[in-house]
Amino acid sequence: MFISFFRVIKASLQDFVRNFWLSVVTTSILALALISVNILLVLNILAGVALDAVSQRISVSVYLKPTAGEEVVAAMKSSLLAQPSVMEVTVTSADEALRKLQERHPDNEAIQNAVSELGKNPLGPSLAVKARSTNDYPAILASLEHPSYAPYIQEKNFDDHRDLIARIRRISEKVERTAISVSALFAIISLLIVWNSIRITIYTHREEIGIMRLVGASAWFIRMPYIIEALLYSLLGTLIAAAVIFPLSGAVGPSIRNFFDGTQFDLLGFFEREGWRIFGIEFLVAAALTTITSGIAVGRYLKR
């Protein structure tokens, strides 16, 4: 058994080398399919990053009445931060709000005069709330309807953002659906290309398979070298894809960060963290596909 296994391994390696160009073509097709899958994966991730970047620029401001004291503001902030859906709460005190107003309109005499005539700060403090997801805003703001806080609330500008948030949600859902459809379509095309290239590879060996049968080789002895060769194609194809994707990620990473205006997303870092898992899964899928295809294709010629 051991000697047969050794011979099968030797035969597959020999065949791989002696049919060099056929091996190069099959491996290249596999590598190209995997590179395309990875590029699509990156595009999917970037679409998500883009939507996150836009979503993170949205915050809802809750303007409080001037009567709301520091303890009320602190309690509301704590209450908001206690909610898992809240990412960040920024407090602007009444004095700060007034200072910002005056700074923003230094040449507007009407505003400057009105503030002087009042003799006191007409503005109240405000809270800028950032949610983890745009879907969470309605629930967060509803929580402020609590009787302890409601009397202090002057205005919530959620209504101004409602349309924008809804639009982002719609785009986000559409992008997600499109990504899934394009990915599925692409996966099917890649599967068909790999399936057919392996079938063509086996087709070119059909006469050899017939000769092996004639000299008394068992089905196992004929089939195994082709299956091991298919594993080799998959392994090399995955390694080539990884060898292309890693430097490519490093090269385009800065451009992506610039394009998304300083986003923290690190493409190379992502592949360094997840590469083993991504390329591991891709190798397993490619190996399963190529070995099954080889097994079936060889089987066809074994029956003849």
Partner: protein
Amino acid sequence: MADTMIQFQDVSRMYHPDIVGVTNVNLRIRPGEFVSIVGQSGTGKTTLVKLLIAEERPDRGRIEIGGWDVTRIKGKDIPLLRRQMGVVFQDFKLLPQKTIYENVAFALEVSGASMKRIRTVVPQVLKIVGLEEKAQRYPVQLSGGEKQRAAIARALVHRPKIFVADEPTGNLDSINTREIIDLLVKINQFGTTVLLVTHNREVVNTLRRRVVTLDAGQVVSDQEVGKYLL
């Protein structure tokens, strides 16, 4: 029967209702015989070979090889049957990506022979067919006659009891034809039963051995020391 190596009993093989492969073939070949199966193209000679090596199964009748009923042979036993027989064809059927040495060794490798046995036997058979100097060449680097000798070496490597040659000289010139036929006679002299399928009149007539003539899928003549009749 100990004095029977191959037996065809009422064997028929049809490809379509109106296309006859062979029909009602009865044939008994004794161990050590040299039998030429002759006939024009399409008379069923190659069908007979395919039935013998279990590449096809008869629609009717029974085929026995050394007492083994190959009509009902299981798929997994076919490789075992083929390792008992040496078969060569007109188109040589050598593995193009293997050297001549590897082609011959392959027939032993598939049966699980040890490396030691392969290293001993392969050079011996290559010497018998006169290819020891060309062992490391690939089939494409050999002439037609050399390719056929390589195919014979591969068929011989198992020391088969039966040697089947299906039109072995079909692609060869007269000098190479003579060499191949001399080699088959030599193999027969070692005690191997040889079945030569041919339509080469000159070869059959100079051999002066048993000749079975097929016509339209039927045995029309079986002479102990025969000539090409058709």
